[in-house]
């Protein structure tokens, strides 16, 4: 474990927020996905410690929580760059030049390969399967921002907004 001290996520307001979600479901387990989102929003990723905390809070086991975290691609099991860039390259976008957009992001962020974080820690670029906005090629997500109609030429200007 590389973390020596662990600050719990579910204290104060966040604990209250989670408690307010619980009556929505007949089981505590059902609050797992929302709880994991809360961890990621607070910490940027979900560490083993955080998984253990979520397990404790919801009456589950750490192994169970890990099994769920690893199923869903949007939960980060490792720290990522300050700006997490996801470029859709599935068929409809691919037909419209999405691979050129990926190349432009890799080039202009300094990320050498997909999934790696740039040396300055600012960016991580990945390919993502169908973002569900095929009529607006190429859709890109940067953090929680959903951006339509990105072209390779537009990448440098777009990145200036994400420093």
């Amino acid at each position: 474990m590389h973390e020596t001290t662990y600050e719990p996520v579910f204290t104060g307001d966040r604990k209250k927020q989670l408690d307010q979600l619980l009556p929505r479901f007949p089981t505590k387990r059902a609050a797992l996905l929302p709880a994991l989102w809360m961890v990621q929003q607070a910490r940027g990723w979900i560490s083993d410690h955080a998984m253990a905390e979520v397990a404790e809070v919801l009456g589950l086991t750490p192994a169970y929580v890990k099994g769920v975290v690893t199923f869903y691609t949007m939960y980060h099991q490792h720290p990522v760059g300050k700006h997490f860039v996801q470029v859709c390259t599935t068929t409809p976008c691919n037909l419209c030049g999405a691979e050129g957009v990926v190349k432009a992001f890799l080039e202009h962020t300094g990320c050498k390969e997909l999934g790696a974080t740039s040396p300055d820690g600012k960016y991580t670029v990945i390919e993502v399967e169908c973002l569900g906005a095929c009529g607006f090629p190429t859709p890109v997500m940067i953090g929680d921002d959903f951006i339509e109609n990105v072209t390779p030429e537009g990448v440098p200007e777009l990145l200036r907004k994400y420093q």
Partner: protein
Amino acid sequence: MGYPHQPHLKETVVLSQYFGDAEARTYDGWVKRGGYQALEKALAMEPAQVIEIVKQSGLRGRGGAGFPAGVKWSFMPKEKKKPHYLCCNADESEPGTFKDREIMRWTPHGLIEGCAIAQYAIQAEVTYIYVRGEFTEPLRIMEGALAEAYRHGVLGPNAMGTGKRLDMYLHRGAGAYICGEETALMSSIEGRRGNPRIRPPFPAAYGVFGMPTTINNVETLASVPHIINRGGAWYKSLSLSHPKSTGTKLFSVCGNVKRPGNYEVTMGFPLGELIDELCGGVPDGRTLKACIPGGSSVPILNREESESCKLDYEGCVEQGTMLGSGGLIVFDDSADMVYQIMRLARFYAHESCAQCTQCREGTAWTVRILQRILAGQGEAKDLDLLLDLSEQMTGKTICVLSDSCAAPVVSGIKKFRGEFEAYINGTRRPRPVLVHA
């Protein structure tokens, strides 16, 4: 309306009437446009009456399967012994499909109203609207609209002042195409890995949390208020070809086309006309090569088939494909079918939940063979191997993800065999695959 375009005269605008109209997103704006009258009307009826109207309308599931919505609702127990649930499937992830996103972005109250009517009809206490995790904007808009609906007493313990309780919650997915499969969606709501479950038992008997459940797509539910307002007979009359395909359908058109976007047409509309007239055709100097009419999981049509295809459930079956979700992917003569089919297979390999061997191994193996062919290292027998493998992947697994991977591969080899052979016999230069396997 082909948002962001102006509506075309040949469209039949029902669901998309307010796409692009920001005021329609608000509670006040929605009410001003006649919103929530259908819910008021439905709450004054018996649940069985509401189901009867939807049955009469002929409305069929818009998520892909095309099952009659009213009939699905009627499978729920009449005598309520346990809690009932409604799940709205807003996990829109089928490549080529982007209609539910616009419904949520522009008419969130229309979806809430449709959910509330369905919820009442099946006597459910709670609706979970399961939205894919990447849809940050639709999530934000839906969250705001739900809060407004509670504030104005549309939802809550005294819904529309009737004394009836209607609760509705958003549930955010976290990046898994398979959660759009109805049983996987229920697993995901329960806080589990999104693994599909064997049916039977069907959700109406044993659904989310083991309770009777109905799952409907966003577009299906958003159609319901219009049916309640204007009647089942009106909806049923919207049909250009086969009488069992009724109403309007949003087609998400994308790929090699001049004006991509959502177009709402009456069932039975000719596919060729949609591409050529409404969408402006393929880019200048290009010709149409192929079409996938119902999202990436259905067989590919060649040019001739595309030109004679009627866009309804039966019309697509006549051409050997399916209407699916109405995600229309257009390929012009510049498209490399081998590469794009590999890219589709890779999508399924990435999204397999890995429970069933045929799917876990078959999707990944399909990708490896296709990449080998693209790299110029394919052999003549590889095409038979792909076809044999696809057969082993069809109809043998818990859900249809594996079948969906096989559909474009089999139809692709059948209709564009020459393109595969060109890579194999070396007349076409190898094409490296850009990224990760």
